[in-house]
């Protein structure tokens, strides 16, 4: 059904209907082979990744008691206004700011260093 490479090399300048149809079928076969091969490989890779990835986290537990929440920080009303304005700008619809908590991480300093390095490499 499909043309052999030797025949393909001799595809005439003006192929007849039979040659043209065979040429097209071969072309479609090549395209499907390439993309089909990628599909199979990516399915295998995807299955491996799904198996290796950690199990999905359990549904969120009920709110923790007040003692475990981040320590309360005196909130600057100007900061609260800025956050509310930003939320309004992004959401652009009815909204309510329920809580504002500081992000507490253990590697703030390394994050700052990384940010500094990236800024120094950015094209200005």
């Amino acid at each position: 059904m499909f043309l052999q490479p030797a025949v393909l090399a001799k595809l005439p300048t003006y192929p007849n209907v039979g040659e043209s149809v065979a040429y097209q079928l071969t072309g479609l076969f090549v395209v499907f082979s390439a993309l089909g091969a990628i599909w199979i490989v990516m399915e295998i890779v995807g299955a491996l990744f799904r198996r290796l990835s950690p199990a999905p986290s359990p549904p969120p537990s009920p709110p923790a008691p007040p003692a475990t929440t981040p320590p309360a920080v005196a909130l600057d009303p100007v900061l609260a206004a800025v956050i509310a304005a930003a939320v309004h700008h992004v959401i652009n619809g009815p909204h309510r700011v329920v809580a504002i908590h500081p992000v507490i991480t253990s590697d703030d300093w390394s994050l700052e260093g990384r940010r500094d390095i990236f800024i120094s490499h950015r094209v200005r």
Binding site: Y14, Q24, G27, V31, A34
Partner: protein
């Protein structure tokens, strides 16, 4: 004094204007109207139209065009003057060593070498890769088949072009319009049928800009109301390592299968790897902005400047324009029908057939068309991300098809 004025007039460009040039000014006007007033692919149509205008003015020092013995026009040639150099090597045959003393040519004789030497399309693919998120395709890899099925348009058009009297090489160059991928169309046409480059590029980019008009009627014709309302599962999150592996795997498979597509595929995947590895921020920014923008200007104007009236206003151009829309139609139908077939074979995980049409490339417009069409029937159906899968698969599929044409016809 009067004869002096006449002599002067003959040195001006007015004396060289022809009626064919004036027709081309109209064509340029239409392209500029589509780009500026309608917003259809302005980034490409504006440089192409401007290049076409330059080509149809009696310019000097811009581009050299010569009529070949076979009746076709060759542009972007330049003159190299060289003197023989005496060599002290007794083994060297005389006359083999020259010193270039002068190179004469117009601005676009040199800029257009980027197309002639096949530099611009792969470098634009570098930028395309840097701009493309393959995540939706990796999350739903079977949509690769939709990108493959949409290549049906290419091969059907090859057949049609053959019937209309084009040679096999010309037919392949016209057929690639159905891939809806401008750089690939230019890459292939320049290699197989450079005499058709201008018409092929204009048809490809014009139809890409008309995707929102061409595709929806075909999509509606081939799908039922129920099929258009199919909701697809939300896509899983794809890890960075998976994306990096995808770039490498796709490049290796495609190059091993069709080495002639190496330049396009390798640059596409290099751009994507730079994007996903997240440690080459400056390079990604350059690929996404400066490189692709500069090359788009050069590519567009270089293509437009091949649209000189004498070569463009030919019956072949009209045939190419007609075949282009057929190519797009069959490509759209191929993708939609393949999605329907996949639903028959795997009814448990249905695919909305509207995303099949996105397999024609034209990233991301074709995916947006799928999404918009889907929302007409179900306002809460979000098909954009699932449609990006076949959309980017179409880019890979078209590059592979171009590689097939090159490997079989380009020798």
């Amino acid at each position: 004094m009067f004869s002096g004025l006449i002599d002067f007039f003959q040195t001006t460009g007015f004396a060289l204007i022809t009626w064919k040039m004036m027709i081309m000014w109209g064509v340029v006007g239409v392209l500029l109207w589509l780009a500026v007033a309608k917003g259809f692919e302005p980034l490409l149509l504006v440089p192409i139209a401007f290049g076409a205008l330059i080509a149809n003015l009696p310019t000097r020092g811009v581009i050299t065009t010569e009529l070949q013995a076979n009746g076709t026009y060759e542009s972007a040639t330049f003159l190299v003057s060289a003197d023989p150099v005496a060599t002290s090597d007794p083994a060297a045959s005389p006359g083999n060593h020259y010193k270039v003393t002068r190179i004469e040519g117009g601005l676009f004789d040199f800029i257009s070498q980027g197309i002639k030497l096949e530099l611009f399309p792969p470098l634009i693919f570098l930028g395309v890769g840097a701009l493309t998120d393959f995540g939706p395709l990796i999350a739903l890899p079977r949509t690769l088949l939709l990108g493959a099925a949409a290549q049906l348009g290419l091969f059907m058009t090859f057949f049609g072009a053959n019937l209309l009297g084009f040679t096999a090489k010309q037919s392949a160059s016209i057929a690639i319009i159905g891939g809806a991928d401008g750089p690939t169309a230019i890459f292939l046409a320049n290699k197989l049928a450079p005499e058709l480059l201008g018409a092929v590029a204009v048809a490809a980019y014009s139809y890409m800009s008309l995707v929102p008009l061409i595709q929806p009627p075909i999509m509606r014709l081939l799908t039922t109301d129920k099929e258009r309302r199919i909701r697809m599962r939300s896509l899983r999150k794809v890890s960075k390592l998976e994306k990096l592996l995808f770039s490498v795997i796709v490049m290796m498979i495609c190059i091993l299968l069709v080495p002639d597509a190496s330049a396009l595929i390798s640059m596409l995947m290099l751009g994507n790897f730079l994007r996903e590895c997240a440690v080459t921020e400056r390079l990604v920014k350059s690929a996404q902005n400066e490189i692709i923008n500069i090359l788009t200007i050069f590519l567009g104007t270089s293509v437009g400047i091949t649209m000189a009236a004498d070569s463009f206003l030919a019956p072949a151009t009209l045939k190419i324009i007609a075949l282009g829309v057929i190519a797009f139609g069959f490509a759209t139908a191929g993708g939609v029908l393949a999605a329907k077939l996949m639903n028959k074979l795997a009814p448990g995980t249905p695919i909305n057939p509207l995303i099949g049409s996105a397999g024609v490339s034209a990233v991301p417009m074709a995916a947006r068309v799928s999404h918009t069409e889907g929302q007409k029937y179900d306002k809460n159906n979000y098909l954009l991300m699932p449609a990006m899968g076949p959309n980017v698969a179409g880019v890979i599929g078209t590059a592979v098809a171009a590689g097939y044409f090159l490997s079989t016809l380009g020798r």
